[in-house]
Amino acid sequence: MIVAKQKPIEEIIETVDPYNRILVVGCNECVTVCEAGGKKEVAVLAASLRMYFMNQGRDIQIDEVTLERQCDREYLEEIRNRMDQYDAVISLACGVGVQFMAETYMRTPVLPGVDTCFLGVTEERGVWTERCQGCGQCILASTGGICPVSRCAKRLFNGPCGGSTKGHCEINKDLVCGWQLIIDRLTELGRLDDYEKIAPIKDWSTERAGGPRKVVREDVI
């Protein structure tokens, strides 16, 4: 899922300060799972903001709603007939949802309430780690299911580097070395000989480097 984390409330307060009628919109998918922008987080943020502004002597209207997703038009449409009641929206969706909301409601300022971090997994409640960088050309079949692009700090295709120490990355002793994981997995799969195959130079044109990306399914349009 897309993993995000809540922005510090001080930052949200600063961006929302010029407005008096605010709608806080959550998302029921990824940000709910990583406890950053679901229905509960919307309620907490709205209550906190109401109290803050009341304490400042300002009479602000702060409403709450949580949509199924903010990356599909049909869900964003659900709030169309109330949008004129607000002069700003705080979206707790990931950066994708914030932008799509803004594109859908061009005349209403849409402010982000979370920092979108990465594509990752729930290791355990409260801990999320990165797994995928969206490079557009998945090579997991040859690396035993472990991605060197997202799990090696240097995205080496023929790692590990000389800084790998006791299975951990040179930049942080709590960060597992991606290449150690790959080697361990290849060993378990009885495929350690694959290690000596030289991985070819990557085509990064399907990654961010190639420009903003698009997927089209001709057979479905």
């Binding site: 700090a153 240097k154 995205r155 080496l156 295709f157 023929n158 790692g159 590990p160 580097c161 000389g162 800084g163 790998s164 120490t165 006791k166 299975g167 040179e170 930049i171 070395c177 150690q180 080697i183 290690y195 000596e196 030289i198 991985a199 070819p200 130079i201 990557k202 990064w204």
Partner: protein, 309 residues
């Protein structure tokens, strides 16, 4: 073995003699005097001098420019090139830049992560990795073509090297990794500095068992300790470094004024022992901030005078 490049280092190694290389770190400023002074001190005691490339991600005068300064002094440089900071266009471009000054040695490296340096907030590149850089230089030299496929006018004639670290984890793949670099086309290797001789000799044995010592020239890396503090620092704070307790004890066992001398003794003894190690074809002396001792180390190890052209 017929020579592939005009590199003096290649020539000496191919002749069967032990080669000696050393390295200099460029200054954190634009005055080339820091490089030229150090290089002048050691020029008659080494066959080629490596210039580091923004080592530990600390921004310094670039390796290419420093190599050119050496070349203009009539000294043979080895261009260290990391893939951390440059994409494949810039890497190929800098290789041509070096070749335009007839620089004939290159060391292909990954590079320490930028977190260690003075710009931890910067981007990193890692467009291709060090293994692929080895392949790239060989391709440019032997096929005379760019990665994109076009012809290169006056292809670079570079003797291609890489680093190896017998002491990094996991140990079981360190020799397979060396084999991989050999398959990628590497021609000489400089190892991380050696203090754990048993482990190094084990690594060498495994390399010999696979015949790798006949496919690539391996130069053993050594660094003299100046103080017991330095020994401890390298033991505990430098990733991929193996400093056995006995070595630290040895440094700690002499009074402070005697420690530099003891450090040099350990270094010379290491070289003497490794001269007997089959497959070791030379030494890479990294005397960080102590370049003035390189001549002494070379002489005491019986490696002086260096072959003259």
């Amino acid at each position: 073995m017929s020579l592939k490049t005009p590199s003096r280092l290649e020539k000496i190694l191919a002749s069967g003699q032990l080669a000696v290389t050393s390295e200099c770190g460029p200054p954190r400023g634009s005055d080339p005097e820091a490089i030229t002074r150090k290089a002048e001190m050691i020029r008659n005691h080494v066959d080629a001098i490596n210039i580091t490339d923004n080592q530990t991600s600390v921004t310094r005068l670039c390796s290419l420019a420093a190599c050119i300064h050496l070349k203009l002094m009539g000294i043979e440089p080895t261009l260290q090139m990391v893939v951390r900071d440059r994409n494949r266009i810039a890497l190929q471009s800098d290789i041509l830049g070096a070749a335009s000054f007839d620089i004939h040695n290159i060391l292909c490296l990954s590079g320490d992560h930028q977190q260690f340096g003075d710009c931890p907030q910067g981007q990193n590149v890692f467009d291709i990795d060090s293994m692929q850089l080895i392949q790239t230089v060989r391709h440019m030299r032997d096929e005379g073509k760019f990665l994109g496929g076009d012809e290169i006018t006056r292809p670079p004639q570079m003797f291609v090297g890489a680093a190896a670290n017998p002491f990094a984890d996991p140990f079981e793949i360190r020799v397979p990794r060396l084999a991989k670099k050999v398959a990628a086309g590497v021609e000489f290797i400089q190892t991380q500095c050696i203090y754990n001789l048993d482990k190094f000799e084990l690594w060498m044995k495994q390399a010999r068992d696979r015949g790798l010592h006949e496919k690539v020239y391996i130069l053993a890396g050594v660094t003299p300790f100046k103080t017991v503090g330095m020994a401890k620092y390298m033991k505990n704070r430098v990733p991929g470094m193996d400093v056995p307790d006995e070595v630290v004890k040895r440094m700690a066992g002499v009074p402070k004024e005697k420690q530099p001398e003891e450090g040099l003794n350990i270094c010379v003894e290491t070289i003497q022992r490794l001269k007997e190690c089959e497959g070791v074809r030379g030494f890479h002396i990294m005397a960080i901030e102590w370049e003035e001792k390189v001549p002494e180390i070379v002489e005491r190890s019986g490696l002086y005078p260096r072959p003259r052209d």
